[in-house]
Assembly symmetry: C2
Homo-oligomer: 352 residues x 2
């Protein structure tokens, strides 16, 4: 089996953690008998400043032809906020119809969490975030801009089809886990969007009679998630709420450094994309302070998606073993050891 991968290291710590992930991929290929062709796509702040190019033209065409995309991080103080986020990340999610943003929230043994007395057994859930619509459609308008009478209207657009495919994905996922799906929204206030989400959720739930359902308002979610994560198996939510609660999830599981994600195209019309949840962290770039665990766990999600289940499992197991040895170290505590952590993950993989 050979897979074509697009590699987008991007900015800041993106290249460092991507290099680790690629090193682990090399080892996984040797051990599990598959191979990949890899094309590194220059994109991000430097490339944008030099060429003006975002997610378009040759970049988009090259990526479209891949089986999957490994993404580092994007963002740099030299580029105005929002340009790269909207122009590349969101553009890719939409152009490649990456309907589901999948974010496991798992506290691995040995990882230090800021939540007191949280045992790993109590924290194993997955957040399924709608990834192509809602408030992320970028629709809105401002009248009397810049004056004392300015009014800015921002729209969240929610389609039945867009919501249904994500909710259905959540139920399928739960059926292979602990059989519970929680809808997270704010239906008591966002009445129109809330009704569409709730109706769609109920309709899909009827097709999965064995799966338990639950509903939690997004504000209450911030309350329950840190102290009772065991209440949740699969949480399905809209794009903006998902953005918010997955960062909270990352805190709980011990920091952005260990959080992984997948942006899944569900119909095979374009490649899926895999990225650590952390940003480009320009302040620590190039100093070996970044924890590559999130990037390597994202690689594991990529391998699972490509059908290399055994390799995916082995990579995840290797990361978990190394995280356990790191005694809770991450980020700034790691002391210049991004590559060292990468090497240890490879060792763990090879000696398993």
């Amino acid at each position: 089996r050979t897979y074509a991968l697009g590699i987008v290291p991007g900015d800041g710590i993106g290249p460092e953690v991507t290099a680790c992930a690629v090193g682990v991929l090399d080892a996984a290929e040797r051990l599990f008998g598959f191979s990949t062709t890899r094309e590194t796509i220059p994109a991000g702040a430097r490339h944008y400043l030099a060429t003006g190019e975002l997610f378009e033209g040759a970049v988009r065409e090259k990526l479209q032809a891949k089986d999957a995309i490994l993404f580092g991080a994007m963002g740099d103080p030299a580029v105005a906020p929002g340009i790269l986020e909207r122009g590349f990340i969101l553009a890719m999610r939409q152009a490649f119809d990456q309907a589901v943003n999948l974010r496991p929230v798992r506290l691995y043994p040995g990882v230090r969490t800021p939540i007191a007395d949280l045992e790993p057994e109590r924290c194993d859930l997955v957040i399924v975030r709608e990834n192509t619509e809602g408030a992320y459609v970028g629709r809105g308008s401002t009248v009397h801009a810049g004056t004392a009478n300015a009014v800015a209207v921002q729209e969240s657009v929610n389609t039945r089809a867009g919501v249904e495919r994500v909710v259905d994905y959540a139920f399928r996922l739960a059926a292979g886990r602990r059989n519970k799906v929680t809808l997270c929204h704010k239906t008591n206030i966002l009445v129109e969007a809330g009704k569409l989400w709730q109706e769609t959720f109920d309709a899909v739930a009827a097709r999965y009679p064995g799966v338990e359902t639950d509903y939690v308002h997004v504000d209450a979610m911030c309350f329950h998630l840190p102290v009772s994560p065991e209440r949740f198996d699969v949480v399905v939510t809209d794009n903006l709420f998902g953005d918010i609660i997955t960062d909270l999830g990352a805190v709980i599981q011990g920091g952005l450094g260990v959080a992984a994600s997948a942006n899944l195209n569900l119909d095979g019309s374009a490649p899926s994309m895999f990225e650590a949840i952390h940003g480009s962290a320009p302040d620590i770039a190039g100093r070996g302070l970044a924890n590559p665990a999130g990037a390597v766990l994202s690689l594991a999600m990529c391998l699972a998606h490509l059908g290399e289940a055994a390799a995916a499992k082995a990579v995840e197991t290797a990361v978990v073993a190394v995280l356990g040895q790191m005694d809770g170290l991450s980020g700034a505590d790691m002391g210049g050891s991004t590559d060292e952590v990468g090497r240890r993950i490879v060792d763990a993989l090879e000696s398993a």
Copy 2:
């Protein structure tokens, strides 16, 4: 000095915690030489089911004539979700132009927080939430409802005037505190609303040159707030983000049971309203399990608002003393002692 108070005990644990607050008010009046006239307004689930009345007619007229409103909680499984929230709470915030929702996030000594190693000195911030517009305007529409082609659009409406008064309030508040205001939004995605908020924030900031400014995306806020609350002094944010991050703030300060809030009318055109952040918690109602601290701290905010600064301070100090004695007990751990906690607060007040 005599103040006219409207008391709205509401549903669930609302009446229990309100009774404690009123008991503390009695003691404060004796000690600080002011008095109140009080009118208890029947409102909430039972009243709505019996009369169909929400925030309107006589209820609204009676409350309009008050100097301030003490509010318990509202919500009951017998009433469809959203009815009382939108029909009473939001209706009051809007009709009485309660522009600012003020929510202190303070970890009091002796209160158990789920955040590991968080010292009280590191957690003393205030969230200033816009309270009358944004996504809470309830505007939106659905086409092809109930079909496979349904599209629901939900609007967030942001006015320069609505945002400016709240941001200005935040800067005034910071000028009496640690001189720092952080804007929390998602300007990189919610471009129209984000631009209005950022421009307004910058314009107001220019009027307060001594106050430091900062910006944090709402998703990153979920990341920073639990682990670095000391980074924040005053956080100003929109209605929906404020709803979300104040619940997170409540977790950090040790639970909804100790979190207080004010809904402030800024121009004196109508009364302000004071309420604990917790909901009606029907599951524990009537069993003495509710922590009245949030309601009594909300009373302290009410007294401060009325100009009874000394009484406000004394009530807060009394609550803090009792919370310290409770050894982190709250909610279900309190074992039938809502009234007992109320009595202890009165004792602490009287013996101060």
